[in-house]
Symmetry: C2
Subunit: 124 residues, 2 copies
């Protein structure tokens, strides 16, 4: 559980930067070399490489070097972590909405019972 | 677009901390006072309040003070931002998978044509 929490910390932290999100979006279309990935950014290569290393360390991408070219590939499993967390939150709200509905429905039928009881008393 | 990117930065950064995620999960079950929210954490109140302010500033929660009690409420709209971003990524992959399928299917039918062509040549 602690391991899972640490994984979520780093997975979400990686997404809190626009360069890193743009790199992930680009890699969604297929693997790419570091130089191709860096091309659209007005950023020195060492700064860009920090983002690449961050994404690699947090499990969002894997990299492989062939000759002089390092190619990056998206690790889509991290999206499952994010979606899993969102799904957990949704289940909590839905549980809440269900309980709220039961509460409201319960009150309504009790109100009916009370009204019926009062009506019976008034009739007797 | 730049505003949207800044919003996503702060929305994801808020999720990169286990205390903040736990607060959001608790608030999913319904509004709660700061003291109720702080109770499960072994943390000084000023440190806990920093997380509450972070969540408020990044739009994840709203707070309202009545007398001495400040009540926090989850703002579920931020989940839509996160889900919207995930959905965009998924569309990129699915587009890629479709193109890959077309490519493979195209190659396969071309290969069949070539084989048929060779067979016809062999027959003649």
């Amino acid at each position: 559980m602690a391991q899972h929490a640490i994984a979520l910390d780093s997975v979400f932290h990686a997404l809190s930067d626009p360069t890193r999100r743009a790199v992930l979006s680009r890699l969604g279309a297929g693997p790419a070399s570091i130089s191709d990935l860096a091309a659209p950014f007005d950023m020195a290569l060492p700064s860009f490489m920090k983002h690449i290393r961050h994404l690699e360390q947090t499990g969002w991408i894997s990299t492989r070097k062939a000759g002089r070219v390092r190619t990056c590939t998206l690790e889509t499993g991290q999206f499952d972590l994010v979606e899993g967390w969102l799904e957990e939150q949704r289940q909590v709200w839905e549980g809440r909405t269900d309980r709220l509905e039961q509460f409201v429905t319960g009150r309504t039928s009790n109100a009916h019972k009370n009204t019926a009881h009062i009506n019976r008393k008034a009739d007797s």
